[in-house]
Symmetry: C2
Subunit: 172 residues, 2 copies
DNA sequence: CTTGCTATTACAACATATCGCAACAGCGTG
DNA sequence: CACGCTGTTGCGATATGTTGTAATAGCAAG
């Protein structure tokens, strides 16, 4: 896989425009003096076949399927680089694990029910209230893509009206 | 719920009231058929001397100072139990690591600047907008104590010219 | 005080992510 | 096309949590 610069033909990739986005990866790396290596090429390929969210471990796993010699640290480091280029974004799942978003999805955050484990996307509209409050109050610019909100969804709240909440201890 | 009104806080010293909260830990455990062990006693003691936020690793570390034979898994499992009792809450720092809140602090979330690394608390007021939007829109009850918002704080945003049009170049 | 049920612990193996460092390799140059 | 600067990789070590399991010990009953 010594793709010496003269092989512009991206092997039979699906005719999808998304590919264009990733096709620029190499150029973007070059533009910053970074390199286009087999490992990076592979990860970009995997990402190109991905949509939505993926955990870091999942990406490592998929890369391993293509190349069993894949090293985790390389994958994580490459993801850092791609994030710097704006090709991916990461957030943290409800359990704190890394979770990557493949761009260019609509910017969104996540909602996670701690009771049933389901999760949904949060659009800019719903987060606007918080964003404005933080912006006006502190000039803080919220990063919606990194936002994960935990709580209890409607169905679960309705299913278990009375929970063993001991919080908010009424003292004295 | 067992409203133990047997110890109506002999309010001698203001600081002592915090101790009372932890003093009930044993009773609360018993009330659920759980046990009061040296390990739990130690962790509760450590938590009693803590305020604000602590990472799991930090707690493990402090317990180790009191008892070098402390095992991490025991600490984490005990924290889970204490969380079920409502004595502590956990969230995830910007890097996804566990972060515990010792109650009864005012319920709050966290704000973290990805540029300078500083962080602040978010009060119920600021989060109200989001909470209401999620509640009205989906009947979702947000858990503010588990909320961590990432973004760029005012000073950092001011220090760096606007480049949001390009691929957000998040250094690091 | 002894006994017994079972919640808890210690410990080891795993899982996920990061870091240090020496060897390697991409790619611009001569 | 070889050279060499420097970005990258491989890989072991480390950090932080999680989980399985046999052995231990809290606590209440007898």
């Amino acid at each position: 896989m010594i793709a010496t610069g003269s092989v512009p033909a991206p092997d039979g990739a699906p005719a999808r425009r998304d590919a264009d986005r990733w096709a620029t990866a190499r150029e973007q790396l070059h533009a910053r003096g970074l390199r286009w290596t087999p490992q990076r090429r592979m990860l970009v390929e995997v990402l190109g076949q991905t949509d939505g969210h993926v955990t870091g471990a999942e990406l490592v796993e998929r890369c391993r399927q293509k190349d069993a010699s894949t090293i985790p640290s390389t994958v994580y480091r490459t993801l850092d680089v791609l994030e710097a280029l704006g090709l991916v974004r990461h957030a943290h799942g409800p359990d704190g694990r890394e979770e990557y978003h493949v761009l260019p999805e609509t910017e969104h955050g996540h909602l996670h029910c701690s009771r049933c484990g389901s999760s949904w996307d949060i659009g800019p509209g719903e987060a606007a209230g918080l964003a404005v409050a933080l912006q006006d109050g502190r000039g803080f610019q919220m990063d919606l893509t990194h936002l994960t909100v935990s709580g209890v969804c409607g169905p679960c709240a309705a299913a278990t009206p009375i929970d063993t909440n001991l919080q908010g201890e009424t003292m004295s």
